[in-house]
């Protein structure tokens, strides 16, 4: 099963390597990993997407918690939560095709953030499936470059993940 895990980790040199190294050394699957500092500059927040059976996920969570730099951890998949991913796509947009591409972006509530006479760069935010759907909807030949952030997640409700 797919799990999305949020990790608060000391913002120290090597902290990211400890997490990625753990996944590599123990043969756990890792689909995506994003990391950035939080409002507290001594802490980074990591969002990990992984999959495995119940026993593996339990081990992943325990092993992450065991890392001395990990302060707090939450398996977002345990409860209601929101996921968002950012994607930027560079597409061909030449003469007759420009209007059609603009319409497609509008349908997906995407923004065109860069324009040349032959291309658009489109920014799209949403759940992973929405980004997938956009890529399916656009003709493969027109896609020049895709960059995705990997999902970020946060739990629903008034309670926040903090110290």
């Amino acid at each position: 099963m797919r799990h999305i895990i949020s990790v608060l980790i000391e913002n120290e040199a090597g902290a990211l390597a400890r997490v990625s190294g753990l996944f590599a050394a123990r043969g756990y699957n890792i689909e995506s990993l994003t990391v950035a500092p939080t409002q507290d500059e001594t802490l980074s927040r990591m969002t990990l997407v992984t999959y495995g059976d119940e026993m593996i996920i339990e081990q992943i969570i325990k092993q992450l918690n065991k890392l001395v730099d990990v302060v707090k951890l939450l398996d977002l998949s345990d409860g209601p939560h929101i996921e968002r991913e950012l994607m930027m796509v560079k597409v061909k947009a030449e003469k007759g095709a420009r209007e059609e591409m603009k319409r497609m972006a509008d349908i997906f509530r995407a923004n065109i953030i860069d324009v040349t006479d032959s291309s658009y760069t489109i920014e799209l935010t949403g759940a992973g499936e929405k980004l997938d759907a956009f890529l399916t909807a656009v003709n493969d030949d027109l896609i020049m470059e895709v960059v995705r952030s990997g999902p970020l997640g946060i739990s629903r409700g008034a309670k926040g993940l903090g110290l």
């Binding site: 090597g14 325990k62 001395v68 990990v70």
Partner: protein, 577 residues
Amino acid sequence: MELTGAEIVVQALKEEGVEYVWGYPGGAVLHIYDALFQEKAVQHILVRHEQAATHAADGYARATGNVGVALVTSGPGATNAVTGIATAYMDSIPMVVLTGQVPTPFIGSDAFQEVDITGITRPCVKHNFLIKRVEDIAETMAKAFYIARTGRPGPVLVDIPKDVTDPNIRIPFEYPKKVSMRSYKPVEKGNARQVRKAVELMVKARRPVIYTGGGVVLGEASDELRKLVAHTDFPVTNTLMGLGSVAASDSHFLGMLGMHGTYEANMAMHEADLIIAIGARFDDRVTGKLAQFCPNARIIHVDVDPASISKNVRVDVPIVGQVKPVLRDMLKFLKERKSGPDKAALKEWWARIETWRDVNCLKYVNSDKVIKPQFAIETLHKVTKRRNFYLTSDVGQHQMFAAQFYPFEKPRRWINSGGLGTMGFGLPAAMGVQQAFPKATVACVTGEASIQMCIQELATCSQYDLPLKIILLNNGYMGMVRQWQEFFYDKRYSHSYVDALPDFAKLAETYGHVGMTIENPGDLEAAYKEAFGMKNRLVFMNVIIDPEENVYPMIEAGKGHHEMHMSPHLSAERELA
């Protein structure tokens, strides 16, 4: 008080109560060595190879329970220490390893003797640090010792760039009185409700087995375990790392379990309806084939490390906590109950266990022509049993023979590399033990292959007058490799014959020690007595043994506990009967 970085490192060792540091100097640690030179409270032991520094610190830690400390230089000094660090990591041994590093401005430039040792050791340390500022030394050292000795212990590496210990920079020194880390909070007591649940299972059990590992030794819970065993009348088995936590002479003790465990221990595990696992980690050498492991048992697991629980085997009652307070609670709750364990069921269970014991699975055929390794260990016990005795070992057949045939009565007396299985461990580990207990008798049982992996340490023993007794069970083969080749590769002994052996007795003599060669079974006891009588000398006993003796019983990798190979003559005897 204003101190240099190097002086702060040494002061930190003093603050932590460190008596000995095993190490080897080099460019990046010269400032620290200079500070050490002027400090009398911390004694430095100069080894001959950095691997030995870590093994000696490790042996010291295993025997005393204190944090062992090693100090090595950058680059090759640090990489040579890695095997010892991984050895300590696998057996959860508290250790702090200080490595020199190139000066901070040079880090990442492929400077002379530079390696990314925090990167290299990340998967085999409990934690590691790279100190970048002299102001951070005191706090980092305090954290390193705190992390190493608390929770599930383990090695912590502290990498110290040379400029951080610059003798020209002095800063005020204050050592943290207490360490508190928001990201690291080791557990203490176990959850009382879980312990009560465990107790309910224990009183209902009809065929219980207590299975304990190194955690009982590390957690100083041997007394509590013995009380629990006495109170419940439950049978108990130890892993290789747990030997000595119950007295081998206690009738409740079934011997070691696992790949080379006893028939009674493995069969009891296989037929048990309740396993009480304490400070053990369900290692593959213990469980055999997981699908066939304890097929009828419910499992209680007490461990200080939550990640150990349900890692390999799904357990029914997990208890996360220090073994000692958990066992105390367990005993207290058991005593509070009106009715205890089921005596009638236990009587039946013990009767069944006695039938397995009667098989006498460790029986071997002795010889008056050639020394059998089992006989060599039995005789060693005969000669040393009244002594204040510690036994270290290397890795292989001799290690298994020692585990099977030397009955350990106390914890911390059997010192060997279980998890990593590091050949070369035995001699330097014995140095660490002897340093800690100068008056004790410390012996190392080894093989002619293992001993050659750290044999240079005979010089260290000479320099520091360490009167070790080395018992080399010399069969001319990497015995365990040869045994597997005999069983599983049709006796194709590919590269397991150890050719071109030195004359070990003479070799020991060139290092200033006493050397002996013993070939006749009839001479063995007298030779041991003579050797152990030489109080102040290291005696290297080259004991020539039967070249093709095998370790039995044996469970092949990937087989179940009930599928043991017994010694061929034992099987023949049984068929006749």
